[in-house]
């Protein structure tokens, strides 16, 4: 319904404005389908008019530095296996923390969720995104067929 309203309301829309409207409608439709049952859908609808924050690369580059540093430590250290195990565990914990932060920035409303809620919301969000992609693909192929010249 949102798509229909946006598509045909303004013939003078630029391609870019039309694309924004289509994307906004698709996201609103996807979120509305959850009927307020999930945090991400409520956050998506309430954040509709706010600019989306871009994910920073700082988290992943900081993680790469930590992994490089630990490889250097492992190469030069003459300590026993217990110390190496400790380093491996702390690297794993650091990676999990950094990647959890990235995931929180990808899921709408994710920054307010605890770990269990975040993973549950992620499962639902991924399922909904897949459906969104399928619907848009069907629409695109229907539109492509409609715009072909008749024989």
């Amino acid at each position: 319904m949102g798509l229909q309203r946006c598509k045909f309301s303004n013939k003078n829309m630029s391609i870019f404005e039309r694309k924004k409207a289509i994307k906004l409608s698709a996201d609103t439709a996807m979120a509305s389908a959850r009927k307020g049952l999930t945090c991400w859908s409520r956050a998506l609808i309430s954040n509709r008019d706010r600019p989306v924050p871009t994910t920073t690369r700082r988290a992943s580059s900081a993680c790469k530095k930590i992994v490089k540093r630990s490889r250097r430590i492992r190469r030069t250290a003459k300590c026993g296996a217990a110390r190496k195990g400790q380093i491996t565990r702390s690297i794993a914990q650091c990676l999990v923390r950094k990647r959890t932060q990235i995931l929180k920035s990808l899921i709408p409303g994710g920054e307010f969720m605890n770990e269990v809620c975040l993973i549950e919301e992620t499962l639902d969000y991924i399922t909904s995104l897949r459906v969104q992609v399928d619907v848009m693909r069907s629409l695109a192929s229907a539109s492509a067929r409609a715009s072909e010249p008749h024989n």
Binding site: K11, K23, A92, L95, V116, S143
Partner: protein, 91 residues
Amino acid sequence: MSSRRWRESSRTNMSEEQITQLLSTLRQLLPEIPHSHSHKASSAAKVLKQTCNYIKTLHREVDDLSDRLSQLLATIDADSAEAAIIRSLLT
């Protein structure tokens, strides 16, 4: 005091178990990696990385499809029969 600590630690154990279970469900939802030779359980860090990459891929697909749709819809005359068909698909 000790019973409180026990309660806190049992709560932590429960949520760790819950997280492990959720992560394995998440792992099943992600696309298979063709070069992955390991059949044992992936670590939490790997699952999180694959999840983030998959979500970014889906976002990019939605973006590309929005692009494609905006170009296609621009070429369709709003009053034509084809537009009516598409309208009926959406309601």
